[in-house]
Symmetry: C2
Subunit: 319 residues, 2 copies
DNA sequence: CTGTTAGCGCGTTCAT
DNA sequence: ATGAACGCGCTAACAG
């Protein structure tokens, strides 16, 4: 490995001089142009890369962010990670990954973050509690959560659930919907939205016939669908995946969407557009949300802000 | 932050003694039991965590792996990352992310890896060339690619394409298929499979009516479907997403799957099971593949092995 | 304009 | 059984 020392030795200069040139402080201090060029050339030639360990030992910013997720298989996770990565690259940040597997939150292990001295924490997904965060409380790392939480620890980026529910209620009203059935699971984001839907439907004179709770597995959805006492005008699903599973389950007992029942989703996953029928859903402004999240954690002063974003209603075939 | 020095000062001991105790070499060297306990207690009390920068500066293993991907939005990416992360956690490894956005490979930036001194490289996805890898050739980091490549640089984990194609051909033959049409894009993995399909179909007396090449966007698939000169017994799609888009496009011009044409996918993404019709496809043994990949990079000696895995044919409604 | 020195936190000689 | 001193690669204060 090329080091400043190896360059200095080769050129017969001192290490500190090389350091000054390489860290861009040459001009400022007043190093001879010729010397600057020699150092730069040799650095280039030997493929010099600053040793991050040495830098961070000296207290130089590591420009490293930790990313925690609760569910790697969330269809949105890849997109979020992609966006995060894109911005991180632009700003010369590095992303370190931690997470729990399948929401087994007890398995969350943050040693990776300690190891690499992260300067910011991005939490992807909703959650209820953050026991694990105790380990971090003694440090003051700016953090942001993208999703809902009951235990806010830093900044927060989420969907405006009230606005969203009203958007849907208005849309359904226009379609002369008089009653609905809810399909939600026990996750925090589902429950948060459900509460708002109930409120919004009340205000728009839309009845809720049934409130089905299922874990989201295809079997739970199937049995939920089978046990339906009656068919509402529209079924409100907690997310698009749930919506597709509901439609699939209905299909298996010969109920057609949207002819017999409509189904409304949430998320606008890539798949929703090509499903048969295509899913009517709410499209969150992911890119803007991620951008905002990144800005919040990478800013010098830790923020406690909560930013709410409004999704766009995408009317397709299912509702 | 608690450091060995802070503990030593507090206890009136020397730093090196504290170091010995904390790195578990106390017994070996012969430190007084009482001293050991004192140090351990103080470390516990002050929440001592070894400084990774200092460690790696001293040459201690960083246990850090770099992960590169070409496409964050690949539906398999989350699953792969989840598996990788699960194993990484078990073995106390850290994962650092790099990648290019939407396959714009020129934007690949590996500075993140240099920054954190990675000890292994996992490449997720197929690719044709690795110009960027030049920067790494002077280091000897064990690497593994999960996917196909034309420019192998380390170990390689992939699907056995010949076996796969034969599996499918045999299946189709049993179903009395006499002709097919291919829908593939220009990616390396699609082309690799296509070649094998062509060979396998020839051996099984299955004709290929048309060879449609499209970029995979819904519009390209739609126009590909519209331009079809005739309907084959079964359409072979390069992957499940392509399959769903084909079915969707056929649906829009009133052609039913599988009644009018069958469609065969590849990948077994989560959605395939719930799509209407559910997609008949090949299911790669992802977990085993990831496990093997991890074993290869994390092993002390860099391997150049290529491991081929055989997928399982999952017969569903579409074919 | 350039070199010397100190020190970030740690493990490892070499002393004692 | 314990401590002093060194060096990993780097930057900054101080000295020419």
């Amino acid at each position: 490995m090329a080091t400043q020392k190896s360059i200095a030795d080769k050129l017969g200069l001192s290490i500190s001089l090389v350091s000054r040139v390489l860290s861009g402080k040459a001009k400022e201090i007043g190093v001879a142009q010729e010397t600057i060029q020699k150092v730069l050339d040799e650095a280039q030639r030997t493929n010099y890369t600053p040793n991050s360990a040495a830098l961070s030992l000296r207290g130089v910013k590591t420009q490293t962010l930790g990313v925690i997720t609760y569910d790697f298989e969330d269809p949105y996770f890849g997109i979020i990670l992609g966006e995060l990565h894109k911005i991180a690259k632009q700003r010369k940040f590095t992303l370190i990954l931690a997470g729990s597997y399948h929401r087994e939150e007890d398995t969350l292990d943050l040693s990776a973050f300690a190891k690499h001295n992260i300067e910011g924490l991005i939490i992807v997904g909703s959650d209820r509690n953050k026991d694990w965060y105790e380990k971090f409380t003694h440090k003051s790392i700016p953090s942001v959560q993208i999703g809902f939480t009951t235990e806010k620890i830093g900044a927060n980026i989420c969907i405006d659930e009230t606005l969203s529910a009203n958007l849907v209620a208005k849309y359904l009203q226009k379609q002369k919907t008089t009653n609905t059935t809810l399909f939600f699971n026990h996750s925090l984001s589902h429950e948060t939205f459900k509460k708002e839907y109930i409120e919004a439907f009340k205000q728009h004179d839309i009845a809720i016939l049934e409130d089905v709770i299922c874990d989201g597995s295809i079997n739970s959805v199937k049995s939920g669908v089978k046990r339906l006492k009656s068919l509402p005008d529209v079924i409100i699903a907690g997310d698009d995946i749930m919506a597709t599973k509901i439609i699939r389950s209905l299909h298996e007992i010969n109920i057609k969407v949207p002819e017999d029942v409509k189904v409304f989703g949430f998320d606008n996953i890539a798949h929703s557009r090509n499903f048969i029928p295509s899913i009517t859903t709410l499209n969150p402004p992911i890119k803007e949300m991620i951008q905002a999240a990144f800005d919040l954690v990478s800013s010098p002063k830790a923020s406690q802000e909560t930013l709410r974003f409004t999704p766009e209603l995408i009317s397709r075939e299912s509702a």
